[in-house]
Amino acid sequence: MSATARPDAAEKLRGGLVYGTDLVAPRMRWGALVLAPPLAGRITGVDLTEARSLPGVVAIGAADVAGLVGGATGDAERPPFPVDAIAYPFQPVAAVAAPTLAAARAAAARVRVTVEAAPLVTDLESVFPDWPGPDARDACLAAHVRARFGDVDRLLASAETVVRETYRTPGIHQVALEPHACLAEAHGDRWIVRTSTQSPFGVREDAASILGVPETSIDVDGTWVGGGFGGKGASFLEPYALLLARAAGVPVRLALTYREEFLLGRSTLPAVIRFETGVSGGRIVARRVRLLLDVGTSLPGRDFATGYSIGFLLGPYRAPAFEVEGYAVRTHKPPFGPHRAPFAPQCAFAVESHLDEVARAAGRDPIEFRADHLWTEGDRTPLGQPIGPFGLPAAMAAARRTATAWRARCPPGHGVGVGVGFWSTGTGAGGEARLRLTPDALLIEQGEREIGSGSVLVGLAAVAERRTGLARDRIRVEYRSTATAPFDSGVFGSRTTAALGRAVDEAASALLADLARRLGSEGTVRLRGDRGEIEVVGTAARRTVRELATPAERAGPGILAVGKHYGARGTIDETRVEAGEFYPYHDFTGAAHVAQVDVDRETGAVRVERYAAFHDVGTVIDRSSALAQVEGGIVMGLGTALTEEAIWGPDGRLQNPGLLDYRIPTLLEVPPIEIELLEGYPGDGPFGAKGLGEPPIVPVPATIAAAVRDACGAHLTELPLTPERVARALKSA
């Protein structure tokens, strides 16, 4: 149990914090988006006349943008409102602001949008029924990546056993409980927006590019964030709200309805994964992996998803020869967006389930077979990226022991499975940290807001505590807007404590060095705050901060120290890359999970009875936050494994845009979870830490699928493992 409560606990428990949805301002108007009809096709008209005739209503569309931004031209490929064609059903085509929300909604309903409907393509597999050929150059492709080494064709042809399988994974939504919301103002050449975001600087950059205005003319101030999970990483509502505020001349608040979250949100989209794996003498001799990834209306050349995600199909297993190819396929859906560990859980599900099948075909124990092929420190990935200290083999060994113990006491008809997944801690574009030491407190000035994981409020403070020795209750994170905050690229990629934490650590070290000089102390100094004012303690001397500060520092902002960490990118062996861009992973981490399930043979319903997780964390920076990340990630993964699926109907429309039909886990479905954090495999983060926000979700669907197979023999190749799919697989098993 946590010894220290989170610093935001008391206010969160009494409802005292302002989230994006809570934003209000004097004279504020309420915005609403005007959604296109549920079609795609050429726009023949967006008539705002009637909406504009309503009292107090401002309405803007594509034709108004140039005037509102003073003639600036933004990114022509992604204007705020579509100019020629509707790219996906319900795409926002205009926006309105009115004195009340009801009036805004009524005005939006009076905008007439006419579209020359084109066929709506939302089924990924209908785009390329015969899989794209090696030279596919199609308007429907946003990216093509390909890499190989070794003679895969020859090795597959001569292998003793070759297993070919196809896996399918669905679209999934982030489902942060707080819908997207922001409040914008425009004054002269200044654009100001308060917003619930994982990346204030990302929003600033993105909004500047869309509007065609300088980044420095936009000030982004984060609010408390009611869950991100990747869905609040880039700008979304902000450009609309800024344009509305400019048009209205007063602050405008804009929020999505929850239905709009499902219809318009950028989430992870469906995929088809094909494997060919050859085995001889019980060992893998060659792997071929192909990925067809739906990226919605992601722009050609700007798809990040394929080159990033496909790497998760390459590991974490060795093979003497490898070939991988991925296509990003455009469909009439919103652009692909990241969802906690983007696409990695789906990849791990496919890789693990397939290698189980391969092991069985080769007459080997599935867990032992995978353990035999696992990457270890010193290996290189198929793209030539070096594996540093890597705790996954130890995690898998622990998982195997647990699985063996559970299986020995597992009732008949129940099953135990093991799944693993790896992760590469992100650094993004880096981050900067600014510390100010006052007589009473050490302040960490930040633009990033706490999104819930604790990575900002707890993680950064814990790093400063560990470096300086000052107790956590004397360390405070102070928020700044992008106008004055040190740069940071955002709370994503499990990077905050690990990468931004490095900048904080560097600033803290610089602060201690400065203080040592002032104290005239040889060696390192530490801070102490347990005797009133903060003291600087050296080997031979001890003075208060007040005594060491200059008059200017005492009168003003305290003793300043800065740090920066722009991160390291992994390297790729480019001789192996034949097409496209692969994301250079580095700083590898991983986890092995164990699940015990009960499968109802009549209904196919899966109940998870117990769960265990073994995580390479590098170094534990804050134990209770770390455990909370693992618990939360696993349960989110249970949704990916068992229930979560965006369903597009034959008419191309999303069938389940709501929480009743898109089921996320509830309190009633959660098994007991045992967690072990493995230290001793240091990463690039402060004190050897590795990212932990995303790894916990990665192995979950794979682990549940392995347990289901162990329980009843059903081999499933499609997520989620709904009762219907399990029952069908049981019939054919």
Binding site: R6, L177, V635, L667, V670
Partner: protein, 157 residues
């Protein structure tokens, strides 16, 4: 002059005069009374973030019309700590580390406070968990919330 229709919110009388007939309690609280501790999630009764107490019972304020509550008493998260049971629930959530982003937290705190007062702390744990099954949380994985329920049952007056 006839008495204007009112309801009580956190012990204070609130006139319903001028409140449009179909207004939801959630909107009355958040936008007329500035009590934005009650969170707006789905607005369709599926997430539980907007839970308040109406005459002591956990109620989804997004599905409740303000005018239906004439003469009744509403308690929100802002006042829940004034009540010893509510205080115990808040402390239990804090000590169990049962919150992350905090968006579902007011709904859980209010719901559990209402349940403890309605069922009594000796009611079976499963009963509490079943009733809280309608409150969604995407961050914690619920295990810490279940621990908070246990702590709150031990500590509630």
């Amino acid at each position: 002059m006839s008495a204007a229709p009112t309801l009580t919110v956190n012990g204070r009388a609130v006139a319903l005069t001028g409140v449009p007939d179909p207004e939801r309690l959630l909107d009355l609280l958040r936008w007329r009374l500035d009590l934005r501790g009650t969170k707006e999630g789905c607005r369709t009764g599926d997430c539980g973030a907007c839970t308040v107490l109406v005459d002591g019972r956990p109620t989804l304020s997004c599905l409740t019309l303000a005018h239906e509550l004439e003469g009744r008493s509403v308690e929100t998260v802002e006042a829940i700590g004034d009540d010893p049971t509510g205080r115990a629930v808040q402390d239990a959530f804090r000590d169990a580390g049962a919150l992350q982003c905090g968006y579902c937290t007011p709904g859980f705190v209010v719901a559990l406070t209402g349940l403890l007062k309605e069922l009594g702390r000796s009611a079976p744990e499963e009963r509490f968990l079943a009733d809280l099954g309608g409150n969604l949380c995407r961050c914690t994985g619920y295990l810490s919330i279940a621990r908070a329920v246990r702590l709150a049952r031990e500590r509630a007056p």
